[in-house]
Amino acid sequence: MMKWFSKKNNLDEMQELQLLKIESRGFWIGFIGLAAAIAVQAFLYGVNSAGDMFLGEFIVFLCMGLYLIGNCLRNGIWDRHLKATPAVNIGLSLLAAAVTALFNAILSYRNFQNVSAAFSVFITRFLMISIVLSVTLTLCSALYRRRRKHLEEESDDIES
């Protein structure tokens, strides 16, 4: 007889809510921590040593991101504060691309001490990442809108 484990939830609704908040914070600490760990390792050891140094972290980070995106889209959830509009998507893509490209340019300068090379890295990465992100966000927001519409129609069916 296992007295230390019960299938019944030992928590009441308030404790359950608090635990969910704690777990949610834990998830974000892990997610941001992994991103920071990847960035620091990339800075210390170079992006090219990714296979040796931070492949594991990268895979976990990718899985966490895909889990979040997949489940949010499945449940028709976009964001608490941002709206799924083309302007917001493009703005976010440009911001994320600028940060990533700047990071890559700094890495390039640290490795080769060449300003023009670092600048070209910045431009190419900025263009590449902003295009890929814009397309991805546009695709995701289209999927979100489709799912949202489906869920709304589903609710109408239940009521009638």
């Binding site: 009441d12 609704e13 308030m14 404790q15 809510l17």
Partner: protein, 70 residues
């Protein structure tokens, strides 16, 4: 916002937070937080609390708007 009506109703029944918590199947901390307005209980818990205290949802949880005509 503090739920003083709940606290009064509990005291009228001469019931402690612990006792009410035990009856509705939650922790004392939860009842304390409902009374202090730090936690919004689910409808199920509101109904259970009302049943235990012999009150209606209106008695304990309804809040009138200032501009509403009563």
């Amino acid at each position: 916002m503090k739920n003083l009506r709940l606290k009064l109703a509990r005291m009228e029944k001469d019931m402690s937070q612990t006792e009410l918590a035990k009856r509705v199947g939650v922790t004392r901390q939860t009842i304390g937080m409902v009374e202090s307005g730090d936690y919004n209980p689910t409808l199920n818990l509101c109904i259970q609390i009302c049943r235990e205290l012999g009150k209606t949802l209106n008695d304990l949880f309804w809040e009138e708007n200032d501009d509403e005509v009563v």
